[in-house]
């Protein structure tokens, strides 16, 4: 296989992982909803419903990072090393999440259940918004330069340098924040859909409230429309055949309309999410909204990644030095490594299959308070 083909394939894998991550952020969305109920029993239901899947989001985040490192190491080097504070805040919020489920109600918990619930809420807020900001840099760029020849400058060998803000520039970029808030409200919407599907207890209507779906879904829809308008009217960077970078107006609109089935997938995915919100919000019995919304989310996010990286578009444009912008072509691993990793990726369908099987068996019957009381291991 040719290097260019493998670069495209691996951007597809990254897109799928990114899309799955955004879908699974419903866990974080659910965490941000913990104090939307005053009932401790209801909160217990929510935590245990989310808790049986919290590691999946975590694992997808880690695998997303690892896959990026293996396939596009220059991105890993430039973004993580440069937008230091952005990534550190994301990581700390996930560190807090990792222990919170297990520790929150254990005897000997010296910090109290409320402390860990606050950690979970913090992860819900910070994790969603800042991951959205990080993805925002794919479109709106960062203040960095790359000079590989620096590796032989003993006094200052660093090849990629970011501005002194080290990530705060991205966090305070309103366009990146717009995407962050969009992701946040999507996560809350999907969490509400998930609770309706996964929890069955008429005593805790607040948990499975359909008004929450409409409320969060409404905010999400408005923010999403604003983000799409901003994105499709933004300029970006494209790599020419001779390797030089040029600025292109409305680059993402051009990418979307250049391939009809990208626009089709994007539109269908958007409609599916809106369908899930509206159908669930206005029905008293419909419970399958999470599957429509989840599938639609995955479709939309995959296309967003495609807009960012395909068609020689820079997926991490530099606002400081346009020629330092990263593309699939100039930031990937070697042909050999991408080939090796492609063989490994054959295992991915098997991984997805066993995850789907276990998810199906675990969630066959919705969670109730009575079931929690009988369980020997609860969060």
């Amino acid at each position: 296989m040719e290097l260019a083909t493998l670069q495209q394939y691996w951007w597809l894998i990254i897109s799928v992982l990114g899309a799955l991550l955004v879908f699974m952020l419903f866990i974080q969305g659910g965490q941000s909803l913990l104090y939307c109920t005053r009932s401790e029993a209801a909160r217990q239901l929510m935590v245990n419903s989310l808790g049986r899947k919290w590691e999946l989001t975590f694992t997808i985040l880690v695998t997303f990072g690892g896959a990026f490192f293996a396939s596009f190491p220059l991105f890993y080097s430039t973004s993580f090393g440069g937008a230091y504070w952005l990534w550190m805040l994301i990581l700390v919020s996930f560190v807090l999440q990792a222990v919170s489920y297990e520790f929150r109600r254990k005897r000997g918990n010296i910090y109290g259940t409320a402390t860990y619930d606050i950690f979970l809420m913090a992860n819900g807020l910070v994790g969603c918004i800042l991951l959205g900001v990080a993805v925002g840099t794919f479109f709106f760029g960062g203040e960095f330069t790359v000079a590989k020849v620096n590796i032989i400058n003993g006094a200052s060998p660093v090849i990629s340098t970011w501005s002194d803000s080290h990530g705060w520039d991205a966090i305070t970029d309103w366009r990146c924040l717009l995407l962050g808030l969009t992701v946040f409200f999507l996560a809350r919407t999907q969490a509400s859909l998930y609770f309706i599907n996964n929890i069955s207890d008429a005593r805790h209507e607040g948990v499975t409230s359909r008004i929450k779906v409409l409320f969060n879904g409404g905010f999400f829809a408005i923010l999403f429309i604003c983000f799409v308008l901003v994105l499709l009217t933004s300029q970006g960077v494209r790599q020419q055949p001779d390797g030089t970078m040029v600025q292109v107006q409305n680059i993402y609109l051009g990418n979307l309309t250049s391939t009809w089935w990208w626009a089709a997938i994007f539109t269908i995915g958007t409609v599916m999410v809106l369908y899930a919100i509206i159908r669930t919000g206005f029905s008293s019995t419909y419970r399958k909204g999470i599957w429509w919304s989840g599938t639609g989310t995955i479709m939309v996010v995959i296309v967003l990644f495609w807009l960012a990286g395909y068609n020689s578009t820079s997926y991490l444009p530099s606002v400081t030095d346009i020629q330092s912008s990263l593309t699939l072509a100039n930031s990937s691993s070697s042909l050999f490594t991408l080939t090796v990793m492609t063989w490994v990726s054959i295992l991915v369908p098997f991984v997805i299959a066993y995850i789907a099987y276990v998810w199906h068996k675990m969630d066959k019957t919705p969670l109730t308070e009575a079931e929690l009381e009988k369980e020997s291991h609860t969060y």
Partner: protein, 522 residues
């Protein structure tokens, strides 16, 4: 330059902090995962519900510890990017692959089947649940395998070549990386050390229950399983440790010399069993390196080369260019001073290549590439200012090695004694002093475990990748202030999490003394 060195030192400190915290939790995860899988197998085979209760007890402790292992591990993966961005580019083509494979193969397996393990007792059949417990243990081992392949590659970089047009190393042999002899040895050494630690933990906690005269049957049953796993673990750890020493002698002779505080070697070199280092000792100053020592004649020659009369080079020998080849023959190689010169010539060749490429001068590019290829072996040395910079911290490496070996020897005797007591001299199980030896072995095994990693990582300094990239060239472009802030942030956060885990563990263990472990519903 000052800020560069501060960034380097603070970034090293941060990585050491996060890695050491991670290694507090991971070996217990490795050890307990195997022990609970064995206990659940006994339950399924015997259908004895008491074993189910015992399994669930240890599973609860496993879950408490697992969470902290996951939390501390997240930072480590991304820290290669945040604090070592040059490293991420320069060797990411090789290093990134094992990390990605770890995520795809191991993490998903762990995270999926651990949910079945904890929450699936009533939703799945006995057989499926048992399979999930074993798959969780397998996932944990696979995770260890791939990260240790990555770490082993840092100790013995193989399977790659340097591409001057990309200014980085690229992989050219995946199987050389995956089957790196250092990786295979390291994997078994690390995993079996986890079995050892898990075994000590189970024996220690069981002893506490015996001391409290609570759940005596469950404690004795657990103690036997823990002791067998621990004995197998420590025997294999010692055997693979011997293999490790042979590997280190071949591929990291400077690390071996630091481990021994050896400055001038000889044939039939003795092994220092214990000694006090002369902290004023510097290379070529003529002072004794060790003030007081108890040594084993020819011991280091046997350990390093399995040949009692073989030559083992010391630090000064290596700096002078005297070393040992793969056949064990003493050879003269290139002195470290010359390596630095050659390394700088290699870097000059790369600079010339880059300039020729900018001009489009193909002939000059080819000429520079040829020169670079000739001299690339010592490219990394071009970043050093003096040969002495290639010496790792001797004292820390020396004492850590001894701590690890001495405690390791004690643990072999410990498990043998526990098994003897458990099967033949059972009246000793009622003695308080036995209980307290077992309980106090718990912190000891953790000290041993950490000491081993200190030898491995400190002994590799100043290299992030042995002989290829020193720490000062591997760094990110961040201020030392930023790294100091995140260092203290992690120090406080992980300490608070450690305190939380210990508190919950102790409370959980304490609660077990008042309940019936074998039948918790009673």
């Amino acid at each position: 330059m000052n800020d560069l060195m501060n960034v380097v030192d603070w970034s090293r400190a941060q990585f050491a902090l996060t890695a050491m915290y991670h290694w507090l939790f991971v070996p217990l995860t490795i050890g307990l995962s195997l022990i609970i899988a064995i206990m659940e197998t006994i339950y399924v085979r015997t259908r004895d519900e008491r074993w189910k209760g015992i399994t669930k007890f240890w599973m609860t402790l496993f879950g408490i510890n697992f969470a902290c292992g996951v939390a501390t591990g997240l930072i480590l993966e991304f820290e290669f990017g945040t604090n070592w961005s040059n490293y991420s580019w320069f060797v990411g083509d090789i290093f990134g692959a094992p990390l990605a494979i770890e995520g795809i193969l191991a993490f998903f397996m762990e995270s999926t089947f651990i949910a079945v393990m904890f929450f699936g007792w009533k939703k799945f059949s006995r057989g499926f649940h048992l399979a999930a417990t074993w798959l969780t243990a397998l996932g944990i081992c696979l995770s260890a395998l791939w990260i240790l392949i990555a770490n082993a590659w840092m100790q013995n970089p193989v399977g790659m070549e340097f591409d001057p047009s990309q200014m980085r190393n690229v992989m050219d042999d995946f199987w050389a990386v995956a089957l790196n002899p250092v990786a295979i040895n390291k994997f078994f050494h690390a995993v079996t050390s986890g079995w050892t630690l898990g075994g000590v933990f189970v024996v220690g906690v069981s002893s506490w229950l015996l001391w409290r005269k609570s759940n005596i049957v469950a404690a004795r049953k657990s103690m036997k399983v823990g002791a067998w796993v621990g004995l197998a673990g420590i025997i294999l750890t010692i055997w693979t440790g011997d293999g490790s020493a042979v590997q280190v002698a071949k591929v990291q002779p400077m690390k071996l010399a630091a481990m021994e505080g050896l400055y001038r070697g000889k044939c039939g070199q003795e092994l220092v069993g214990f000694g006090l280092l002369n902290t004023d000792k510097r290379p070529y100053d003529g002072q004794d390196a060790i003030n007081y020592e108890i040594s084993i004649p020819k011991g280091l020659s046997i350990l390093a080369n399995h040949d009692a009369n073989s030559f083992v080079p010391g630090i000064e020998d290596l700096l002078d260019g005297i070393s040992v080849d793969a056949n064990g023959d003493t050879i003269n190689t290139i002195s470290y001073a010359e390596r630095i010169t050659i390394g700088r010539e290699a870097q000059d060749a790369l600079r010339a290549y880059n300039e020729a490429e900018q001009r489009g001068d193909r002939q000059a590019m080819d000429s520079a590439a040829t020169l670079l290829k000739e001299k690339y072996e010592f490219f990394g040395y071009g970043y050093l200012d003096s040969p002495e910079q290639a010496i790792p911290p001797v004292a820390l490496t020396f004492y850590s090695f001894r701590i690890m070996v001495i405690i390791g020897g004690y643990l072999l005797a410990f498990f043998a004694a526990i098994l003897l007591i458990s099967y033949r001299r059972t009246h000793f199980l009622e003695k308080s002093w036995i209980h307290w030896i077992a309980i106090l072995s718990i912190p000891l095994v953790w000290v041993c475990s950490q000491a081993g990693w200190i030898v491995a990582e400190v002994g590799r300094q100043p290299w992030t990748i042995q002989d290829v990239l020193p720490v000062n060239a591997a760094i990110s472009d961040i201020s030392s202030t930023s790294v100091q802030i995140t260092f203290w942030m992690f120090a406080v956060l992980f300490t608070l999490l450690l305190i939380a885990e210990i508190s919950i563990m102790l409370r959980q263990i304490g609660k077990s003394a008042k309940t019936n472990i074998e039948n918790p519903d009673k």
